[in-house]
Every structure is written in C-alpha cells, then in structure tokens.
Chain length 204, copies 2
DNA sequence: GTCTATAAATGGATAGAC
DNA sequence: GTCTATCCATTTATAGAC
C-alpha cells in the first residue's frame, strides 16, 4: 500500500526485480528459481509465498513489463499537425525498441515464449504495437478525409510505415548481426522513410 | 552417402527430423533429449553417438534449417525489369515467412536463442535476409543510376521496403494475435506497399 | 513471513552388453 | 552402432523450525 517502495523495497519487490532481470536475460526455461531467489537475496520459500509457481511469476512479471514499457505516445498526433512533423514525432517515439536494450529483450522473450504463454503475446501487443497502430491509423484516416493524403487502407498503411522505420535497424539488432547504426545513420534512415511514405501517399 | 534416404531413413536422419520438430515447437530449453530420442524412436545412447551433446545437435539442426529455408530468390531482379513488376516478384518471394508455419517457427526460435547461440542469428541472417537485401539493393541502385528511381540510400531503402511488406502481417502472426489475413487482404496490402514505395521513390 | 533443509522429479550424459 | 540401465547434477516445490 505504501507507494514509496524505493527506499525500503519489500521482499516482493526484490523478487520481482530479480525476476525481471533474469527472465529478460535468459528467458523462461534457463532461469531457475534457485538463481532467482539468490539474485533477489531471499530464500526460495519466500518466493513461493508470494507467487504460486514459476509460471505465474513469469506471467505476472512479463505482463507487467509489457504494460510498463508499452506505447507511451502522448496525443501528439493531433489532426492539425502537418504530416511530415507528425510522422517525425511518431517515429521518434517508435524507435525506442532499438535503442533501449530492455525493450529489445522484452521483445525477444515475449516472442520466444508466446507459444507456451499465449497471454504474453497478447499483452505485449495490446500495450505496445496496437495503440501505436491505432494512433497512427486515426491520424492517417483524418488526413485522407481532409484530402491531404491519399491512402486506400489507412490501418495497413500505418503498419507499413512502422515496418519501414523498425525493420532496417531493429531486425539486425535482434539477431545480433552487424554493428549498431550511429545516431546520424538512424536519422538519415528515418528521414528517407518519411520522405518515401509521404511522397507515396500525398494527394495529387 | 546414399542420397535416397526417404525409403530407409538412417537413425541419424530420424534424430535430425525429430530434433527439427521438437526444437521448432519448444525451443532449446524445454526440449529434452529424452523426448527427442522418444520422438525419433531411438535410444538416447544412439543420439549421443551421432552428436556430441545437446548444444551441438541444436546448432547443427538449426543452422541446417536456416540454410534450407533461406532466401531462394532466383535472379529475377534483372535490371531491365520495370520497377513495379520487379518489386512485385520480389515481394511475392518474400512473404513466405508469414505463410509457411515452419519459417515462422524458425524465425521465432532463432531470435529467441540468438543470445546463447550467436552463430544461429548470423547463419539465419546470412542465408535469408542478407541475400534478399543485397539483391534488392543492387536492383534499386541500378534503377537510380538509370534515372528511373530517386533514392539516397538504396541499401536502407531495400530494408524499408522489406519492412513494409513484412511487418503488417508478419508481426501479428509471430505474436499470435488476431486472425491470419486472407490472401486477398495480403494482396491488397502488397499492392499498397508497392504503390507507396514506387510513388515515393520515382524520379520526377 | 522468512529461513534451512529436503523431497520428488527430471535433466544431460555415460557404462557396459550385444 | 545400438540398446538397457544408471549416474549425477539440477530443478521445482514443499516441510518444519523460528
């Protein structure tokens, strides 16, 4: 009940923090409850007094992570914002996945375990990609209605734009190939994506 | 040495087939050598007579899968092909990931284990995405040189186009959300992606 | 609630016979 | 090469004292 948990973290918080760290590093299978208790600095019995079993602990922690690090787009995509600026602001919030190692790990672990934990995939999607898609879709639809853009399927176009800005750097990083791109390179790629998408959808 | 293995599969083939199935279903951690031997119909000792340990078996099988199901683009992107046709043919070969369940599983498992098995991520990338990217990059560069397209960074543009055609259907399927899109929906999305990309890169 | 100690089961890997 | 049987470490989960 006490919201100030940073000073005197409860055992439960210690467990959750340790679970976050280890599950994100090693996934579900390779993370043992022994290691988890040791990392948290508590006994295993204490872990089991707070969580029924390994599955429920994993589910709770990962769903929590999804909701914490999910889409945090403010209402930046007001309809009056010109498309180039709107897309740039949207994309700037989107590239987070690549830069923050934690988000990359969440992506990887959720994807890996979404077969055995279907609720994980759904939680991740509903907190992250889905609201972002909805936001951009609404903005694009409005611009189409206003005659600024010309798009057949705004929802698909939103996903296509997101794919443009995510794929080039996100995928290599996830697979651990190549060297991370510089900030300037990312910026140039983003500029090009916005340029292509805008030129390709601008009403004649 | 006998290439006709379908009639009388060797024990080794049985092991490899079982490993493919179980590793793709459950990943590395949750797949036990007991279950694998049972699935193959051989004893565990036979498994260990063909492969040193679980790691080497996993690596061998997964790298083999990557090379088998990797990019199979023929040399369709000859420079004289008009862009719309070239992109359509390229994209048609690309969407395989979404449709074939096995490729989706490979993607998922490789991504999940690429931390503990770095060579996996590299193998997957070098057999699949990299050659596809190279092929499209070369084609785009040639069209830029010919004055047909106008693109600053052809390599990044290639990845951006791939992102456009992959992301909208690939990601939801990987996370197990929503219902698989119909063939018509995929076709419409592909048409829209090609249209946006071409309009956005066509030389004035 | 928390700890130490342990139960019960399963994991990877091996021994020795054939 | 192949099998049955087994070793040993580790894992999840629990018992009982404090």
């Amino acid at each position: 009940m006490n919201e100030i948990t940073a000073c005197t973290p409860s055992k439960r918080d210690l467990i959750v923090e340790a679970a976050k760290k280890l599950f994100l590093e090693g996934g579900y299978g390779t993370t043992s409850m022994d290691a988890l208790a040791a990392e948290a600095g508590v006994s295993k019995r204490t872990v089991y007094s707070h969580f029924d079993n390994k599955e429920s602990l994993f589910g709770a922690v990962m769903v929590g992570l999804c909701s914490e690090t999910g889409c945090t787009h403010p209402s930046i995509l007001v309809s009056d914002t010109p498309p180039e600026q709107a897309l740039r602001e949207f994309a700037s919030n989107m590239v987070g996945l690549v830069q923050a190692p934690e988000e990359r790990d969440i992506f990887r672990v959720v994807l890996a375990e979404s077969i055995q934990f279907p609720e994980l995939g759904e939680a991740f999607w509903s907190y992250g990609p889905e609201p972002a898609k909805q936001l951009l879709t609404a903005y694009l639809s409005e611009q189409v209605k206003r005659g600024v853009l010309r798009i057949d399927d705004a929802a698909t176009a939103a996903m296509q734009f997101i794919g443009m800005i995510k794929w080039p750097h996100c995928m290599p990083e996830l697979f651990g190939v190549g060297t991370p791109a510089s900030d300037e390179a990312r910026q140039r790629a983003l500029d090009q994506a916005i340029s292509i998408f805008l030129e390709g959808t601008r009403a004649k």
